[in-house]
């Protein structure tokens, strides 16, 4: 019997101006990255509420990554600076609760960094795959 290969589910929140465009560029250049990565477009990384991240884990995501403009390049001048603080604090809290810190990440990807986007997603998917299924922040009701 063939064991089905475990594929982690990864939700990527991308800011409209830099990272989403970076993801598009990865596509334009036909740079492959795992299909488990699903992108949600937000105007700015600062739009991402910690509740969205917990929601993703609840619903079965194994990893959540936030991508925004590089510090200093935010379309809205300061959004990613707030993201940086908020997520630093949130991730630190998750770590404090014993939830694997490797499941969350913030990455700055500019519109020119298609290659970085693909590489980051590949690498993050591998990292999450190595951890296995998300067990510590899961909602059993949502499992099939």
């Amino acid at each position: 019997m063939q064991v089905k290969e475990y594929k982690p589910l990864i939700v990527a929140f991308c800011c409209n101006w830099c990272s989403y465009a970076g993801a598009d560029l990865a596509g334009n250049n036909r740079l492959n990255y795992p299909a488990e990565v699903k992108i949600i477009r937000v105007p700015c990384s600062c739009r991402v509420n910690p509740m969205f991240i917990l929601r993703a884990f609840q619903r079965g995501a194994d990893g959540v990554i936030l991508c925004g403009c590089h510090p200093g390049d935010c379309h809205y001048t300061s959004g990613n600076y707030f993201t940086r603080r908020r997520m630093a604090m949130l991730f630190s809290m998750l770590d404090f609760l014993g939830i694997e810190r490797e499941r969350t990440r913030v990455e700055w990807v500019s519109a020119a960094e298609g290659a970085k986007f693909a590489a980051t997603m590949t690498e993050f998917a591998e990292q999450v795959a190595a951890l296995g299924e998300n067990k510590r922040l899961e909602d059993l009701r949502c499992k099939k």
Binding site: L9, V11, N16, Y20, A21, A23, D24, L25, A26, G27, N28, R30, L31, N32, Y33, A35, K38, I39, I40, R41, V42, P43, C44, C46, R47, V48, N49, P50, M51, F52, R55, A56, R59, G60, A61, G72, D73, H75, Y76, T77, S78, G79, F82, R86, A118, C142
Partner: protein, 664 residues
């Protein structure tokens, strides 16, 4: 419940090559709300768009999901299509199955599976979409320029030439700014006054320009297109409309011992004064701190000699309020104070001067009528040492100076050195530099000429100490290339002081809710793509208030700012981005968390009366978002603990629905 139509695009083989488009269309048929689902070769083609329009009619669709290329590509297209079909354009969502799916995955089953999930997420979102209408606000067709230096003058002239009225507010008695104090300009060495004063006259005589000199902005309310600005006209005790600028009062004024700020205190003026011959407006101003009449009530000489009867000792500060559609900040710069740089003996010897003072010393209208003479004894200096980077490029924790490069010092020092050698070839000129920075048209050539043709001694190294000894200034410095310490007995030391934003800029920024960097330079909306706009909509930046600049750069930025203002004022109404934040007043706590993170100052608070669930009425402080100012980043929505603040088009519920659909 929505009636959603799903349209899956093949994009030729771009999508259909790795995504089974028919399977995607089929899978999405059963999603909640979907009543119609189909695929087509090129959705963005006219035929594709016609298909959408006819389907909307046929199936009474209320929302559209287009599975196609990136929304960055064709979102606008399909929104227009929706509008053509009679739908609200914001009832469209795009599932990006090309750039983020078919182009990055190679196998059909994988691509198809992912495309279905992306499609489901888009459907889930559209189910919660609401029609959005961009807000409209009228535009007051008048601009305000704060600051009357070359930046402000140029901006005002350009706007006025386009036919819009402009007001300039200048805090000094005359416009002209720093450029009026300069002698020559690099790298062409044309005379500053020769090129500036005609512009000053132009702007003063322009039918669309009003100049409020000796005035300040004290309050700014409103938002883009609709600013209400209060301007304080300081009492100058002279009726501007009557004064002819003849100067009789200035000559007769018995109080003549007032340090002349135009010449940086290197000579004196009278208590009633006209800053310089070409001042605009050319009217006299009484300095109330020094006028005997105003201080003691005894004197009145100026009033007696004024033939025009323009003197009015009873004049009071006057406040006027005016409406503007756009505001340009052109508040300029000042050299930093040299008080903290004891090692250069600036406060010990009058012969240690700043570069701006040097400009006045060499200016024909300056205190020495253009002759380069030492301030201490009026003798001609034989040996001059120029020191670069005084207070620029300092460590971030330094309390003395600035972290940034002041940009203009290398060039004006080369100019000073060259002019000195040109006029007084017997003078020895040393320039101590760390780096010589000459990135401008004809800049390096200019610097090389100073060295090669004019024999200026450029020494790589810094001056460590200046000690006055008798009539000399002992300059101790290092010559890093020769590896020696130099001791020069100079007659004059000129410090290239760093420049900093004008002190008034900080309070102005607060009034405008325009952001500033740590150095108090105004921040631009985007460092590369929107360099003349501030993040606050309707506020534009011109000149050195945004960062160190030379004159040509200032003038080009002034023109650019003017172009942006003209573009704004040319509109009758402003249509906003409807994807803006809005606060649910019933849930808002009025806690100000959102306001603190808003980069645009779009959030204000008001006290409103509410009927509460417990039947009482209560006055509550609630946030309100000005949709004309909000740019829709959504930062406030996360800062809001109660969840009262949400972002239209990217609502919490919508994003969570997408998350749910993806994680299903």
């Amino acid at each position: 419940m929505q009636r959603i139509g799903v349209f899956v695009c093949w994009c030729g083989s771009n999508i259909a090559g790795t995504v089974d488009v028919a399977a995607v269309a089929d899978a999405l048929k059963n999603e909640p709300g979907v009543v119609f689902s189909t695929d087509y070769q090129y959705m963005c083609s006219q035929a594709g768009q016609d298909l959408i329009v006819s389907s909307v009619k046929e199936y009474s669709l209320t929302g559209l999901v287009i599975c196609s290329c990136s929304p960055r590509m064709h979102e606008v297209t399909f929104r227009k299509t929706a509008a053509a079909a009679g739908l609200n354009p914001y009832m469209v969502e795009i599932a990006n199955i090309r750039e983020q799916c078919s182009w990055v995955h190679k196998e059909m089953p994988i691509g198809t599976e992912k495309a279905i999930i992306l499609g489901k997420a888009a459907v889930a979102k559209v189910n919660l979409n609401a029609p959005l209408t961009p807000g409209e606000s009228p535009v007051t067709k008048r601009a305000l320029v704060i600051g009357g230096g070359i930046a402000g003058i140029q901006t005002a002239l350009d706007i006025a030439d386009a036919g819009f009225p402009v007001d300039i507010v200048e805090k000094k008695p005359t416009i002209g700014g720093k450029m009026a104090q300069l002698d020559k300009t690099f790298p062409t060495l044309d005379c500053a006054a020769c090129i500036l004063t005609p512009k000053m006259v132009d702007v003063a005589q322009h039918e669309n320009v009003r100049i409020f000199s000796y005035s300040e902005v004290t309050d700014v309310k409103g938002f883009i297109g609709n600013f209400d600005v209060t301007i304080k006209k300081n009492a100058r005790y002279v009726n501007e409309d009557i004064c002819t600028g003849c100067g009789d009062c200035v000559t007769k004024c018995p109080q003549k011992k007032v340090p002349n700020e135009f010449n940086l205190g290197m000579d004196n003026r009278s208590a009633i004064y006209i800053p310089f011959a070409q001042a605009v407006p050319k009217v006299a101003t009484i300095d109330p701190a020094h006028c005997t009449m105003l201080k003691t009530g005894k004197c009145g000489v100026c009033s007696k000699v004024c033939k025009a009867k323009a003197i009015d000792y009873t004049q009071k500060d006057e406040y006027i309020t005016e409406k503007y559609g756009a505001i340009v900040v052109a508040t300029g710069f000042d050299p930093i104070s040299m008080d903290k740089f004891d090692e250069f003996a600036y406060s010990q010897s009058p012969d240690v001067i700043t570069s701006l003072e040097f400009e006045r010393l060499t200016n024909a209208a300056g205190p020495t009528a253009g002759k380069l003479l030492r301030p201490s004894d009026g003798e001609h200096p034989q040996k001059i040492v120029f020191v670069q980077c005084v207070g620029s490029r300092c460590d971030s924790c330094s309390e003395k100076g600035k972290e940034y490069c002041s940009k203009i010092c290398c060039m004006y020092t080369a100019k000073h050195a060259m002019l000195t050698r040109d006029k007084y070839p017997d003078t020895e000129v040393y320039v101590f530099y760390i780096d010589v920075r000459t990135p401008g048209k004809n800049f390096d050539e200019f610097y090389r000429r100073a060295v090669e043709e004019y024999g200026v001694h450029y020494i790589k190294g810094m001056v460590g100490k200046v000690t006055p000894e008798g009539k000399k200034l002992m300059v101790r410095a290092s010559d890093l290339l020769d590896g020696k310490q130099l001791n020069i007995d100079a007659d004059l030391v000129v410090l290239a002081a760093a420049i900093e934003p004008d002190k008034s800029a900080r309070s102005l920024a607060t009034m405008l809710t325009a952001s500033m960097d740590t150095n108090d330079f105004f921040t631009e909306a985007h460092p590369k793509l929107r360099p003349v706009e501030s993040p606050t909509a309707g506020v534009f930046l011109s000149g050195t208030c945004q960062g160190p600049k030379d004159i040509p750069e200032t003038v080009s930025q002034a023109g650019a700012a003017a172009a942006k203002v003209i573009g704004l004022l040319a509109k009758d109404k402003l249509k906003g981005n409807p994807c803006v934040a809005s606060s649910d007043e019933l849930m808002c706590n009025g806690c100000s968390s959102c306001e603190k993170v808003c980069p645009y100052g779009a959030i204000t608070y008001e006290d409103k009366e509410f009927r509460m669930p417990d039947r009482t009425t209560r006055i509550r402080r609630v946030a309100s978002v000005n949709p004309a100012v909000c740019q829709g980043c959504g930062c406030c929505t996360v800062a809001c603990p109660s969840g009262a603040m949400d972002l239209r088009g990217f609502m919490n519920e919508q994003i969570m629905a997408e998350v749910d659909a993806i994680c299903k």
